[in-house]
Amino acid sequence: MYRGREGQWAFYLHRLSGLGILVFLMLHVANISSAMWGPEVSNALMKFYHQPVFQVGLLVLIAGVLYHGFNGLRIILMDFTAWGVRYQRQLWYGVWVLFVLFYLPFLVKIGGGILGGSHGD
């Protein structure tokens, strides 16, 4: 199916982003469920995660989610249409167009926040 080039990159990036998202999801659930130990614990943890280094991590995560999601739609198109596989490479570039379109607002908002020092206290 994949003969190197774009298809191979698409595949590796899909796996890598998928694994990354799963690791984040586990941390995220653990963090949010700290609410069960009350507002003090929960707020302390959330303040910890408001540090700039985690905000940068969040930018990476959002990139991962957007890529994984849009490339997933590409996979579905390849699975269920007659033409999807034939245009898999063009579709991959379409994925990046969508990616940039959706990623820019996050980059501006979160990136601006990091540079502007609006984090934590």
Binding site: V29, Q55, L66, G72, K109
Partner: protein, 131 residues
Amino acid sequence: MAIKSKRYAEARLEANTNLELYWWVFMRISGVVLVFLLIGHMWMNAILMDLNKIDYDYVAQRLSQTTWKIYDWLILALALLHGANGLRYVLDDWVRDPAKRFWTKVVAYGLIGFLFLLGSLSLFNHDFGVK
């Protein structure tokens, strides 16, 4: 073994078991749903809301509404299942030793099951006590 086909017709032929085919279909369906749920989730919390202002009260206020509880629980359930099955594909491909693969799966599934329980409890069993 995980299905490698990229077309539904081929996937059906390749599937050794019906269960494997159902997982293949589940990955597609949950994937589409998750794209919309997650873009909404990220947009709401990072663009409409200032990430750095998110605290216990904000979470409590959002989760005091049943709609958001269900929204978040759908993400939790679909993402953990989608992720668990994706991880299974990766482990089947990349962990060659059967014993190592088995125990890696035991640990991974255990952790994912535990987090599903933890997340569900905090969504439905915790009184956030909105002021």
